[in-house]
């Protein structure tokens, strides 16, 4: 977590790609799947959509997108590459299932679900503060507030543990 964070809240700038179905092939194209050096992967994050993406992102920033973010492959390279650029959370209308669980179980970044009108209200470059415990988003730039969908119980516990490998289930 960046030094801009405070307790349960995180703060950063928005990089908005107002499109649905941002797939794993554009997040990290196939030829890079043989790479397992996380820092090297970050250089190619979002290459299929915006090759300048890694340079734009600062530690703790947010990515905002539409429906079905991360559809396609199970490549964990996708959340790894995004998190290594500095992205701390992705705010989207919905996520593809494997991307969602990879993001959480690997402890890389937070997949936060917001509704369509919230996506519309957030602009590229806005400064947000997100309170995970309260499920609240404050748009500092626009002086506005939004709610996000709370994590299901198990997801909240895995997020708190910092990933599945550190989580002690009670099965």
């Amino acid at each position: 977590m960046s030094n801009k964070s405070n307790g349960n809240s995180i703060r950063g700038k928005v990089h908005k790609y107002d499109i649905d179905n941002i797939d794993t092939d554009v997040i990290i194209p196939g030829p890079y799947l043989k790479i397992h050096d996380h820092k090297e992967l970050a250089k190619h994050a979002m290459e299929g959509i915006d090759p300048s993406f890694p340079e734009k992102v600062s530690q703790g920033d947010f990515l905002v997108a539409g429906n079905n973010f991360g559809c396609g492959s199970s490549r964990e390279h996708a959340p790894i590459a995004l998190s290594q650029t500095g992205i701390k959370a992705i705010l989207a209308q919905s996520f593809a299932r494997i991307f969602y669980r990879n993001a959480v179980d690997g402890g890389y970044l937070l997949p936060l679900e917001i509704n369509e009108s919230t996506v519309k209200k957030i602009s590229d470059g806005d400064e947000l503060e997100i309170d995970i415990a309260k499920n609240e988003i404050t748009n500092i730039t626009k002086n506005d507030h939004y709610l996000m969908k709370p994590f299901p119980e198990l997801i909240a516990k895995i997020v708190e543990a910092g990933g599945l490998i550190n989580y002690k289930p009670d099965y």
Binding site: D25, G30, L33, N68, A96, R97, R101, D105, I165, Y171
Partner: protein, 425 residues
């Protein structure tokens, strides 16, 4: 309960499960390959570093298998190192089912899962690849996971799932010669959208199952991933059991849904009404009838992948290519060594080569833009594979059209997108 709910209930020791329930399920089989495997190795080494311990053993090496498929035969130095690391890993943990290229049977992981009967009806199967859904055609719960989840399964033998709602797709009628399972699943994805089954189970049934071979069924479940599904599944029947009898003597406990099982949605299709279907760039859901695209000029035809290079796929393509010549660059990459050998024995490889196509080794190859015929800028390809996102098979400004093996073969002959009926006549 549906078959999916019943399998997950048995695996989690519960009498009853409902969609939305979250539980940990015991896993019967797990797969990793040359992309997810090195990720697992990294998770293990980070765990060891953090704990200051050596991970001496995994949960059950006999329930694990490893495929080399994405970047093999090694595409370059890095992929060669990944394969070496994977070989050391399987040796260290006593995983004997490691299918190595150049050492007998090997191939695409999802193809090996059924060809080698590595997964059986009623089992919970997870793999480090999104198309793990494929193997659900055998009557198993089969779902794709990332490498952290696979590492967790290798350590603990279980993993969490949210029980999915089940969507039932009933396909009735007698399959015409110009229609393949690929047309059915492309039509379905076109209808429900690429997120139409997000987090859900897609179950296939209907009277076509009486005559639909196992490998065609596998095409249906394979592409459930493209609709966002957690799993694709078909209840096991005589076709399933006969297919398995040829491959294994291992006993299994198949599962079937209850007569009063609840399906959140039921879709019905009459197969006679379907058209040879093509998914246009850049989405598997962007469909048209092949005949509506017949002016579209092509540079390449690709017959490969877990979706479209099984033996039935090669037989279908060969039926079109027999005594004809291809007009555009055409590649055929059988999905596994055993399938390659069967195709050779049946004379299919000869047909492909006589037609002018190049036949390559089993590999995921250009399907994921890795190697073996990737597309350059502005190149247009028709392919039996499963995805056509921007840059999927190469340059971000290349284009891929997805279609059945017979549409791809017919298009290879004319150099334009072609309905197989227009070549046969």
């Amino acid at each position: 309960m549906t078959i999916t709910e019943k399998i997950l209930a048995r695996a989690s020791g519960k009498q009853k499960l409902s969609p939305g329930d979250v539980m940990f399920a015991k896993v019967d089989k797990v797969m990793l390959h040359d992309v997810s495997g090195p990720g697992v190795i990294k998770v293990f080494s980070e765990w060891e570093k953090k704990k200051g311990l050596k991970l001496k053993q995994i949960w059950d090496p006999d329930r694990v298998w490893v495929a080399e498929d994405h970047f093999v035969p090694s595409a370059d130095r890095i992929s060669a190192e990944n394969i070496s690391n994977l070989s050391n890993f399987t040796k260290q943990y006593g995983i004997t089912k490691h299918f190595k290229y150049g050492l007998g049977q090997y191939g695409i992981c999802h193809t090996l899962s059924h060809e080698e009967a590595l997964v059986l009806p009623g089992e919970v199967y997870v793999g480090g690849d999104s198309h793990t859904n494929t193997t659900g055609a055998i009557g198993a719960f089969a779902a794709g996971l990332g490498h952290t989840d696979i590492a967790y399964v290798l350590m603990n033998g279980q993993i969490w799932f949210k029980v999915p709602e089940t969507m039932l797709f009933k396909i009735d009628g007698i399959k015409p010669d110009h229609i393949m399972a690929k047309d059915i699943i492309l039509k379905i994805i076109g209808d429900i959208g690429t997120d139409g089954a997000n987090y859900k189970a897609m179950q296939f049934a209907g009277s076509i199952m009486k005559h639909l071979p196992m490998e065609e069924r596998l095409t249906l479940t394979n592409m459930t991933t493209e609709a966002g599904a957690k799993n694709g599944i078909i209840e096991p029947d005589e076709t399933t059991y006969a297919y398995l009898r040829e491959r294994t003597h291992t006993k299994y406990s198949p599962m079937h849904g209850d007569p009063d099982a609840h399906y959140t949605e039921v879709f019905t299709y009459e197969i006679e009404k379907l058209e040879p279907t093509v998914a246009k760039p850049f989405s598997p859901g962007n469909i048209s009838a092949a005949r509506d695209l017949q002016g579209t000029e092509l540079n390449k035809a690709y017959i490969g992948s877990c979706t479209g290079a099984k033996l039935e796929d090669l037989r279908a393509a060969a039926e079109i290519l027999k005594d004809r010549k291809v007009k555009i660059r055409t590649q055929v990459l059988p999905a596994a060594q055993s399938i390659y050998m069967k195709a050779l024995k049946e004379g299919l490889i000869n047909i492909f080569m006589q037609a002018g196509a190049v036949v390559g080794p089993p590999t995921c190859g250009a399907c994921c833009g890795a190697h073996m015929g990737v597309l350059g800028k502005d190149e247009v390809c028709i392919s039996t594979t499963n995805r056509n996102f921007p840059g999927r098979m190469g340059h971000v400004e290349s284009k891929t059209y997805l279609a059945s093996p017979i549409v791809v073969a017919a298009s290879a002959v004319t150099g334009r997108i072609t309905d197989p009926r227009d070549v046969r006549n």
